[in-house]
Chain length 383, copies 2
């Protein structure tokens, strides 16, 4: 199971041509065109990571009064690159050095908006329930070293970068948060968006470390489109995606860290449903590799204590408002996914499907107010 | 494209064994067991429709304080069976005679709760925009002939039947509605649930015929579980599924009529996402076949006028709270899908994933109230 490459490669290798096209159409929607990005591919090849690049633009109609609104979205999935017992700063720099190369490739690929994986600066140590040394990875969103380093790259490549980190908020009692930092293409700190829904499932003991986010559903109006970040577990909550879309998001990223036994059959469903239901693009990112920790921990599943967490199954992909999606990155290899989209598709699909106009949001405002009131009585007809 | 049987049969026929198991797991979740239902299969074989039957029970843990809560869910997908120029009553009886045989098979299969397809009594004539003769298919939900006929079968087979029809409400100005009638296993009318979201897309000119439903999100507490009905286009609205679940639904049916060019890549996503996000079972039904009408109509897609609508792509399936799902019925053949589930899975998954407890519904009540207020200002940070 752990070395299985991807559903797409299996289908492509084994299905007869006519049937492959039907299966692909039903499972992935309208076809996308492979992009040939020679310079970026060279960087990927010499650094041994995968690069996949697609254009979804041909499926989008030309309009009379708006020119095309082309954006290249980049998603990066990676492993950790030092032993988890190494000093915190060494662990961080080992990952950063790797990421830097991958961002070089994104720059060469002309990526406009790039998102990294959840808590990319560190191993996903929340399985351990230990506070030390892991909390030392936490940084100030605005002035931390990861923001400083990425700001340089953002400016260098004229690229918006979304950087999901572990945040320490010095101003508010040294509190810890799971936060995405948004850096403009000029290398400036634009703001932050905190994880709204915190898991209590399996090894995801994150509720031990940080609380539900208090930044609401902020949308960042960047040089390359309106973007928002729904971090990890928030993808299980359709209202979280919807609230970002209602605030105007055109691209919603879902930087994640999730493992196969738990969530793999959900992975291709949730980000895709969000794109369809809200008429937006979604960028879904999961890390790869298995992370091993210094001390053993248990997983509340009857199994003996162990030291590893994972494997994370990668499979990062982009989903589009017209129900099409890109193939996924590998389940096992580090990689960069480049997806060229035309943001005009959003309004075209909203005009065609009228999902926003038929949404009856006023009715649901009442439903939710009613459900959360103390004297809620469900609407049930008994036999 | 039109005679392609199903994704599942293509995968099963062509993928090497080891890879098939991986692809199946990632795409369909935990495996289900085929049920052998000899008597029902005999009826299906002699009447030339498909029957597929699965048990999802082995994936559900036994509990100490609750015994298993086994329910057999039945879904029927069918064609129309008379020329659309035949008298209305003949058209209805031709479909009913066919459905009766399929319900006989469901009875022999021990189905407890059965749902028919949307507007099963008639061709899906809303593409024509003609009122006559199609509005003559509309019936009183409580006293119409379809409710009377199905009540007999419900009683005979001790089976709850959900019957989606075109409703005429004589009491309220002879208004027309798209409505699901719920009949108890004792053959009694339990109530009705109207379609909440009405499409304005492609050939789905239903807004010409009836308005958004006014029955809210009613749940029916039957002898075999709490059920609700999210009719057709409502599946594109995550809040519609959620509102039924918040009122206590355990099984939510989505009786539909939808065609391939429009929605096929969404079909396997939406009902499945609803099952995952809300911790419920969903039963997703689509009709099969191509329906040809007496007068030509246009489809607002630049193509010449034509007389047919479809093909509907069938592919009915059941999705479970643990992200598993059944294989689909055929894309082309009529069929009965029998799925044996243990409703205890619902609470087990809710305990495990805690999606209801982490949902922050009070926050979203505020979000929706804010979005629908006249002075709504989206939360946007500008570069």
């Amino acid at each position: 199971m752990n070395d299985f490459e991807s559903v797409e490669s299996s289908l492509k290798n084994h299905l007869p041509e006519g049937e492959y096209e039907q299966v692909r159409r039903i499972l992935y929607g309208k076809d996308c065109k492979e992009l040939n990005l020679v310079d970026a591919e060279k960087i990927a090849a010499s650094n041994d990571f995968e690069i996949k690049a697609f254009s979804m633009v041909e499926n989008v109609s030309k309009e009379q009064s708006r020119s095309r609104n082309i954006v290249r979205i980049g998603l990066i999935q990676n492993k950790i690159h030092a032993d988890t017992s190494a000093p915190i700063q060494d662990q961080f720099m080992a990952i950063y050095s790797r990421i830097e190369k991958m961002i070089d490739a994104a720059g060469a690929a002309g990526v406009n908006v790039l998102c990294l994986q959840e808590a990319w600066t560190m191993p996903f140590a929340f399985c351990t329930r230990e506070k030390q040394p892991w909390m030392e990875f936490a940084e100030c969103a605005q002035t931390g070293q990861s923001t400083k380093l990425l700001s340089e790259l953002a400016k260098k490549y004229n690229m918006v970068i979304v950087s999901p980190i572990l945040e320490r908020d010095h101003l508010h009692g040294d509190t810890i948060w799971n936060t995405a930092v948004v850096i403009s293409n000029e290398g400036k700190y634009l703001g932050k968006s905190r994880k709204n829904h915190i898991p209590r499932v399996g090894d995801f003991n994150e509720a031990t470390y940080y609380m539900e986010g208090d930044t609401g559903h902020t949308v960042f109006d960047t040089a390359f489109g309106k973007i928002a970040i729904n971090i990890c577990y928030g993808r299980h909550h359709p209202l979280n995606w919807q609230a970002y879309a209602l605030n105007g998001a055109e691209i919603i990223f879902n930087p994640s860290a999730t493992v196969g036994a738990l969530s793999e059959p959900m992975w291709a469903i949730e980000g895709r449903n969000a794109a369809i239901a809200n008429g937006v693009f979604t960028g879904n990112i999961n890390r790869v590799g298995t992370e091993t920790f210094p001390n053993e921990f248990t997983s509340a599943n009857g199994q003996p204590a162990h030291k590893d967490f994972g494997p994370f199954y990668g499979s990062s992909y982009v989903a589009c408002p017209d129900a099409s999606r890109t193939p996924a990155l590998s389940r096992t290899k580090e990689g960069l996914l480049v997806t060229e989209v035309d943001l005009n598709l959003i309004r075209q699909i909203r005009d065609f499907w009228t999902l926003r106009m038929t949404a009856r949001l006023d009715m649901y405002a009442d439903v939710l107010a009613n459900v959360t009131s103390k004297d809620f009585k469900p609407k049930i007809i008994k036999q």
